[in-house]
Symmetry: C2
Subunit: 145 residues, 2 copies
Amino acid sequence: MYSIGEVSEMFNIPISTLRYYDKEGLLINLEKDKSGIRKFNESNLEAIRVIECLKKSGMQIKDIKEFMSWVSEGNKTITKRKNMFLKQKENIEAKIKELQKALNMINYKCWYYTQAEKDGNEKRMKNITLKEMPKEIREIWKNVH
Amino acid sequence: MYSIGEVSEMFNIPISTLRYYDKEGLLINLEKDKSGIRKFNESNLEAIRVIECLKKSGMQIKDIKEFMSWVSEGNKTITKRKNMFLKQKENIEAKIKELQKALNMINYKCWYYTQAEKDGNEKRMKNITLKEMPKEIREIWKNVH
DNA sequence: TATTGACCTAAAGTCAGGTTTAGGTGTTAC
DNA sequence: GTAACACCTAAACCTGACTTTAGGTCAATA
């Protein structure tokens, strides 16, 4: 059993955010003692891990809440929950691909500015043609333009 | 030269968003004709590509604006701009790593729910031990917990 | 006993990143 | 010549995800 302060430290999430998640219904089965103080158990910690993961995958609080409500409905929602994770898997994979494309652009720009820095100006680089680029850079450029 | 409507279609960005970027100073050197209509040239399109890329890497509008102002200051900011891209490269790489960690969690959950679905309930899975997991799943689980 | 520290709630406030609205201009299509 | 379109501005509005504030409880320490 952990206090909200301990959980905040463990996950590096502000206390106010944990309370907000609780208020929004993301922390189902979170117990409170007689004076209203939250007591986090292992399954609440697992819920927080899941919340962080679903947030990273781009899911909104209200949809995470819906997922959590399925959890508390038990066996009849197992398939729903599985499908939800399958979909989030696709979402994350798409996000990773997007980021890799952005990384291509950034790598091109890093090369561009490294060259421009050597030249002391952007004259040459502004008008550079595909043929003048090293092979790796050419491939990156094509991916991005 | 492209109209705002054409650019909106090309990039799949709402017209209102393009106008907002212009208002916020992200589209420097964007020309307008005598009656105030925006005319996008190739270098404006490149700016939009860069904006999209920097946004994906997590940069805020106000910082993208600052970058764009460096662009218009010319040669004396080349090193600044290069360093900015080097930093964003790190940011994106960190983001990709985070997403890969989230993907691990999701893959574990996909396996978990596939098993639970077969069983018709979560009893077995709720208490599963490391030893009972297939090797690949065990590795994933360790990465996540 | 009084003060400190960790917790609590409800409600208001904040911030980024747009989007919508209201009212207007200029050019082409019937 | 009038209607339909694509564009314009300024300003208000919206949404999600928190964060801050104000006022209060409770247990342990000085």
